[in-house]
Subunit: 178 residues, 4 copies
């Protein structure tokens, strides 16, 4: 049975997921999509306009759960496909070493990263995309911001749950922290 | 409620865990314990003698599940305490960036890393320990091997599920791959 | 001859160094010294009060040249000894993978990191120190700052040549970016 | 003057370089060129057939000196251009964090990495290339090997100065160590 599961990552019912969320940390991937120049240097950061868990409109990065039986590489690809569309042409990293491991808790005080639904642990990657991006699900729009814009206070205040810190940690990793 | 959960990492019943294992990847930490000289260079690798899931006696590294509400740092500490005893004096890494993310599947063919019980994803760290190590639970013994010994074919064949590759990946990260 | 050189890292005359500085990038190590709690989390960042190349008093991190024939590990140890004294008890990293590679140029516009004397490339590490630190050469004092203090604008403005960004990049790597 | 130098990386005469090699470690970049599938996983490793410093024909990776005034990113690009030709279409990494820092000494005993000419320190990267590769200078040929082939003893014995270990360290970093 396990072999078939491995080849068919499994979706959960809402109720199953709710039950599990109270019992185990949920594995996530976080992806900060970027545009780069031909030397690999970041020129722009892509942020989605989405509706956050508390109902306000916020900017957010790409990401979501890793499914049962799903490889982390495939999960990164799937979430980019889901959030940026089929012709984003992402450059999935050669190494799975993340630039950071982000720990989200319902209580913001624990780590500063908040997810009201659950304890989630996100493997976080910077992924360059070279194609056209079309926010294709849940998101209202995708906006490319310069490194300066992505770092300014106004944009940071429009991100939820500490995702602005994920973005800046990504920029630091890429040598672009202001 | 969530706040209390955060402060009291939660244990699961066997049945709960069995149910969840069929539905979500389980988050693990893997720790390769090492002895270092005063410049940080690895001199020895610590391997536990344990009984593997299939009943044979094998060598293994330190590790286990991250609990609901538990910080990754605390999970690393807890598993070292569990496997190496209370006076191992581990140097928990300053950064949570793992040297690798290891994906275990019931089917060995998927990644070469095997866990017959579950799909598990292990954040993997090299942790120097400076105190006395006493295998305190499940393990029969702890043996310190030189880098050469830890890399030889006989020792590698005594490790289960690809853990020999985790060890060598750790050695590579530390500049000690033979 | 080379073997002897390897065992005796070689110092250069000022004139030799001046000549070389115009011809090759100079290899440096940068060390951000930190105090950690028992789970490895940074509590404080150590900054030296030093006289900068332009004559003003500034805060700075630990670092300096890698000598001919000197291992990077030994260079990290030597610069910590030089700047923090003999009983700092640093935990030299197990892996030489730096959190960042910082490129200093005489012209601040190139990368934002400036060294008026030379093109230098610094392998950058976060190093926890557990002993007493005594600024022992060149530095007037060593001050331990909380993560909040080390991140504030006033402290940042007292650092030269972009070293404030090195500190924040180190904090980002350690999961402490504010 | 420095500004101009920054924009025109400077070449050295042979004699200048010989003099400096006795006085300072020389900064290098090492690049392990790879072919990847659409999830970023390595399928093949590219090795050059070159004439080694001791006159024998050997397999080697891409790399060379970082010039005065040259950015590390530009140096990576330049050496790939030099060794793999103008249409290799490399994906220069978004982050300069290398997977390893390799220390070459004339004496093989120091680190196991040998360069008879000098003490060199190489920032080492895995770089996926997506175009046609034409060994364009010094190299006789470029051969793409599977991960298995690149790891076997025969191929390893054809690499000089520990470069086989650089390749395997790269494979470990990318999750492909056998």
């Amino acid at each position: 049975m396990s072999v078939e599961i491995n080849n068919q990552p499994q979706w959960l019912s809402s109720q199953d997921l709710d039950n599990i969320r109270e019992k185990l940390p949920i594995l996530y991937v976080n992806v900060v999509p970027v545009r780069i120049d031909n030397t690999g240097k970041i020129s722009h950061v892509g942020l989605l306009l989405t509706v956050s868990p508390d109902g306000t409109i916020t900017r957010s990065i790409v990401g979501g759960r890793v499914l049962h039986g799903e490889l982390v590489r495939d999960s990164i690809s799937r979430h980019i496909l889901k959030d940026l569309g089929p012709v984003a042409f992402p450059r999935i990293p050669v190494s799975l070493q993340p630039f950071d491991v982000i720990e989200y808790f319902p209580d913001k005080e624990v780590t500063g990263y908040q997810d009201p639904r659950q304890h989630a642990v996100a493997l976080s990657y910077v992924v360059a995309v070279t194609g056209e991006c079309q926010p294709s699900q849940d998101a209202l729009d995708l906006v490319w911001l310069s490194v300066e814009e992505a770092s300014n206070e106004k944009v940071r205040s429009e991100m939820y749950g500490g995702q602005d810190r994920v973005v800046r940690s990504a920029l630091a990793h890429a040598g672009c922290l202001l």
